[in-house]
Symmetry: C2
Amino acid sequence: MTLTPSKLAMVPFVSVDHMMKLVHHVGLAKFLADVAAEIESDFARWELFDKTPRVGSHSDVGVIELMPTSDGEMYGFKYVNGHPKNMSEGLQTVTAFGLLADVYSGYPLMLSEMTVLTALRTASMSAMATKHLASKGARTMAMIGNGAQSEFQCLAQKAVNGIDRIRLYDIDMAATEKCAANLAGLGFDITLCKTPEEAIEGADVITTATADKDMQTILTDNMVGAGVHINAIGGDCPGKTELHRDVVDRSTVFVEYPPQTRIEGEIQQMDPDHPVVELWQVITSQADGRTSAAEVTLFDGVGFAIEDFSALRYVHSAIKDTPFYADLDMIADPDDPRDLFGMLQRAKA
Amino acid sequence: MTLTPSKLAMVPFVSVDHMMKLVHHVGLAKFLADVAAEIESDFARWELFDKTPRVGSHSDVGVIELMPTSDGEMYGFKYVNGHPKNMSEGLQTVTAFGLLADVYSGYPLMLSEMTVLTALRTASMSAMATKHLASKGARTMAMIGNGAQSEFQCLAQKAVNGIDRIRLYDIDMAATEKCAANLAGLGFDITLCKTPEEAIEGADVITTATADKDMQTILTDNMVGAGVHINAIGGDCPGKTELHRDVVDRSTVFVEYPPQTRIEGEIQQMDPDHPVVELWQVITSQADGRTSAAEVTLFDGVGFAIEDFSALRYVHSAIKDTPFYADLDMIADPDDPRDLFGMLQRAKA
């Protein structure tokens, strides 16, 4: 660190407004592709990272979690809540913010909103997994669940993998229409579907991002054709899954961090030793990805701390020389570290 | 919560500058006494709290920790680093910030600096423990270690317990002189001492707050007289203690949260089943505090998440109707929670 202490004492803060302006400044497609590349490069050095399962505080109506990680040089954590009942009260089900810090000094480097950023990194993560697991030349995706995450999933798939034929389905046609309207004019060939069966027709990739906190079977076994790649994004906490267990059984399952996915992912339905492949090992060529054109691959995504770390680090570097942050006076910086009291007394004057 | 979503989306932030102004607005002595009372009332309902040991990320030069807790209505956590080498680089050894959130919605309620606030709550905690454990009529305290924490310890003891005779000692006389100068005119009878032996002469209470990350023996057994109450504040992480184990052996040991204190406190020197009394049980009359005038009582303080929670909750209530906070745009608040993308696109215009 070459910054002076008084500069270190100010922490750059990226508000929701600044984040949205930053995204448009960079360009949404480029932002999604850049974050996917950042996640990929962090997955390639997976073993360097401190990996801790989330620290959750559960109540009857939801959960508040802290997700920390570190690569030995930077430390990051995300605060995130999950409150399914919030939607009916006009609130976000999930809100989040995050912090990046310098491991050497322990000083915070950046505080950032992460509600918008998490939506982006989740889409970038699916696209990065799809890049490594889908059949070559995949261009058609069924997007099941057309809520807050759906447009980002489609845009990231286009930016990273060139997937531009989208088949939308949601139990609520209004959500499908909203998604189609949002994606209009962005270079997609879009089909609105009335059933999941219709949506998956001819799809190379199926992405499920439904929101109910229940064991769902959005996809049953007879619906899934040979060679398909599935991103199951919506089953991301205990008691919430989207796929029938026969689908999981027939697929080769790829995960982020097994101890977390076995609790939160689709594989919570399976035996505790159900075989999984760690995605980082596919990226580093220590494990096989897709091994045949007929194989069904499943990315059982639950969202892991390293993805947030990658996204925060990207934002930290992207805000440089932009006006899209504000300095927060968050860290006390006395002239003499042993004289906090003197600093406090001088503030009186 | 009766606030509207758009108001909920703004998070009050208390900067270092605002915290110092708030402290002076309330009055430092009253602030310390108020926080002590808040901690005491939270200790009285100890069993309600979610208690998790700190989640630490360790490196060669320091540690970054998250300390979460919840009482079922509010959730709080503190980010805190510990980097002993920072001092020689002109940085704070410890910096901190914290967050309070609403358990029902998962939305943040307040973000606050906690470098200053932690110094205050640590002093309030010692004073509250002393109130329950020291001999009646105690008026004289030996303050061993005259760094950043020392003035706050003395002021909290005066505000809560009427202790106004202070005997200062530090291996660095410049620190002692700084502390004495800071306390001048605040109603203390102050003696500057050249040895720890001199400092403890006639002291009813001994508070140690030294900073070295080593096994120290600031106090040896022959120094500690009958009936004394000791607050050992400086030994607060693995590998760092201040008292000779004979002192600990002779004392009745009172702790915050045994699983944490056995790792971080003075009792890390002792057997894993060394007898301890939980302070909250003294407050609720489920356990004895001091049982005789000759007993040596030891509060082996390491700092627990509930104390930070109490302090944050106090600040959250104290900032109301003051100008000592700023609203941060930290939580995304789309008109339609399912349409985050629409909100992002509208920000382009």
